[in-house]
């Protein structure tokens, strides 16, 4: 089993992961920068502290499961998996290339540690529900985590799944919402408003809390708290910044679906390493 990393080491790991994400995206020449960077702390806390998993045995039956419903943040997930030891770090530079184990969006048959293929938005919560219900049938103590995008909750299927999770009292499930406020075409509030999120999810029967999605301690506390909630599913709304960590990417909708140029990478690495 992966040994838990002390919380105080997470900022340095997160910085390294941001360097990896930007470098691999620049090398790939395409991909989703903003939404990968906003999810870094969430993924780091899950994989380095909270989840039970074993990179040397990705199919370990007692592992906790993670579903990246916002599949376009694949670079963040791949980097975290590589840093945990699921595959060689060098593989990151093959992102999006022909024959790579790192497909443009997560592919469970290509990448060790990827639990389910995603990429078409709106489907991950339903899948997480099925995993969690199946684990419950087996009386497993494993938990299921799923990361949703904020724009993603415009998909109707998310609300079908929100209903199901509450109806079946799926309390071995915890959803996290990367609330960075931007989608490809602009601010979520302007494109198709999804708020008030806490009220909506509470009304659907969920336990809801809201945290700073770049504060590892706050995320971890919320995850511990969610584990104690019984009889209903939990949602942690993580307030994040799209493009977090690089001043000229932060909160810029233009960097949703494009990779950095060589010059931008150089500047970004200066900021991260300086």
């Amino acid at each position: 089993m992966f040994s838990k990393t002390p919380l105080e080491e997470l900022p340095a790991i997160a910085r390294q992961i941001r360097i990896d994400i930007l470098t691999m995206l620049t090398h790939a020449g395409s991909g989703h920068t903003g939404g990968s960077l906003s999810a870094v702390e969430i993924l780091t806390v899950l994989y380095f502290v909270k989840m039970r998993h074993d990179p040397s045995n990705p199919q370990w039956p007692e592992r906790d499961r993670f579903v990246l419903s916002k599949g376009h943040a694949a670079p963040a997930l791949y980097t975290v998996l590589a840093r945990c030891g699921y595959f060689n770090h060098e593989a990151l530079m093959t992102l999006r290339k022909m024959g790579s184990i790192l497909q443009g969006h997560p592919d469970m048959n290509a990448t060790p540690g990827v639990e389910i293929s995603t990429g078409s938005l709106g489907q991950g919560l339903s899948i997480a529900n099925g995993m969690a219900l199946g684990l419950k049938l087996d009386k497993s103590s494993s938990r299921v985590y799923v990361l949703l995008g904020d724009g993603e909750v415009q998909e109707g299927q998310v609300w079908e799944a929100a209903m199901s999770a509450a109806h079946y009292k799926i309390d071995n499930l915890c959803a996290l919402l990367d609330f960075n406020g931007l989608q490809i075409d602009g601010p979520v509030r302007k494109i198709m408003n999804i708020e008030p999120l806490p009220d909506k999810w509470s009304a659907f029967g969920w336990d809801v809390c809201q945290v700073n999605g770049h504060d590892p301690g706050a995320i971890l506390d919320a995850l511990h708290r969610a584990e104690k909630v019984k009889g209903k599913p939990s949602l942690i709304i993580c307030e994040t910044l799209k493009g977090k960590g690089i001043s000229f990417f932060e909160n810029k909708v233009e960097y949703h679906g494009v990779s950095p140029t060589d010059k931008e990478l150089e500047e970004a690495l200066k900021e991260l390493c300086g």
Binding site: S117, G134, A161
Partner: protein, 322 residues
């Protein structure tokens, strides 16, 4: 005999494919504790209610939310369950098509989608509920096996076969009861077609209810001195290429018959095989690029030209081209 003797004067028996499905699924639940059943508010119609009564904790009514149902089934499959998902064909194959593609067939997950109420014989409910496109929709998806049983006996055999098969499967069943054409000795194998009547002049390749209509057509054709071979293609994908190619070489003329659009279904699948390997004069019996409409089963089969006499007309036409 695998097939009931031709000219057998015993009264024809009818069995509902969905009724058989419900019974067999409940029985398989004992042998396969990993089976879970998901339904979208149609457990009575799809007959999965029988499984529900027997294994309440392994039955999940997902409400009227088919996209969520498909995703949940995919999740079950990732933790080693064998999910059987059932609703009407249009809501099983149509409404959540992209969810099936993303979450089931692209990753190749072991989910069995067993739809009921396929085809025009849904009847009075009309166009919204008559699924004439599901075979095409499912056949186009990589890794998907597509099966349409010809009667209740074959449905039972199909169920036993697909539960052992690892990978996604779509099975289309019907609202109406089908005449029983197989006896209990019939052996079903995924991807194997069956010659259900021998003949040398023309081959009728049929699926589902149209297999019994084709057998009736062949009997009437015999009176005209035309010996029609009838082949049951229950596995539409992967299709039994060898059987179809050999048949076309023997008889030199092919008619396909299905209760589905002539675009994308059995007729298209057979045409794909023959045009590449053994170009043969062909006619396709099926819904001719139309929507459905309300009516009784009998009225609809006549209106959409799916009765034995329509098959006979197609046979006469294709024989002109030989």
């Amino acid at each position: 005999m695998r097939v009931k003797a031709e000219g057998n004067k015993e009264a024809v028996k009818f069995l509902g494919t969905r009724n058989v499905y419900g019974e067999v699924l409940a029985a398989l639940g004992d042998t396969y504790p990993q089976i879970v059943v998901l339904n979208a508010d149609l457990s009575g119609s799809t007959q999965t209610e029988l499984f529900h009564k027997k294994f309440p904790h392994r039955f999940f009514n997902m409400g009227i939310a088919e996209q969520d149902m498909i995703g949940t089934a995919a999740g079950f499959a990732t933790v080693g369950k064998i999910p059987f998902v059932s609703t009407f064909a249009i809501f099983a194959a149509g409404k959540p098509w992209e969810q099936i593609r993303q979450s089931i067939t692209n990753p190749g997950l072991n989910v069995k989608i067993v739809s009921t109420h396929g085809g025009i014989t849904v009847g009075e409910d009309g166009a919204s509920h008559q699924c004439l496109e599901d075979i095409g929709l499912m056949r186009i998806l990589p890794h998907m096996v597509v099966i349409v049983p010809a009667d209740g006996i074959e449905t039972r055999k199909v169920m036993s076969a697909i539960v052992k098969y690892q990978g996604p499967v779509y099975v289309r069943l019907s609202r109406v009861k089908f005449p029983v054409i197989f006896d209990e000795g019939y052996e079903f194998k995924i991807s194997k077609g069956t010659v259900v009547r021998a003949g040398t002049d023309v081959t009728i390749v049929a699926t589902g209810l149209m297999v019994s209509h084709s057998l009736m057509a062949a009997e009437l054709l015999e009176e005209e001195g035309i010996a029609a071979q009838v082949i049951n293609i229950s596995t539409i994908k992967p299709i039994d290429q060898e059987l179809i190619i050999n048949a076309s070489r023997t008889t030199g003329a092919v008619v396909t018959a299905e209760e589905h659009s002539i675009i994308g279904g059995l007729g298209s699948a057979v045409a794909e095989v023959l045009s590449e390997h053994s170009p043969t004069p062909m006619r396709r019996i099926g819904i001719k690029d139309q929507s459905g409409t309300s009516g009784s089963t009998a009225e609809l089969l006549e209106r959409y030209q799916l009765n034995p006499q329509h098959i006979i007309t197609a046979v006469r036409e294709v024989l002109q081209q030989k």
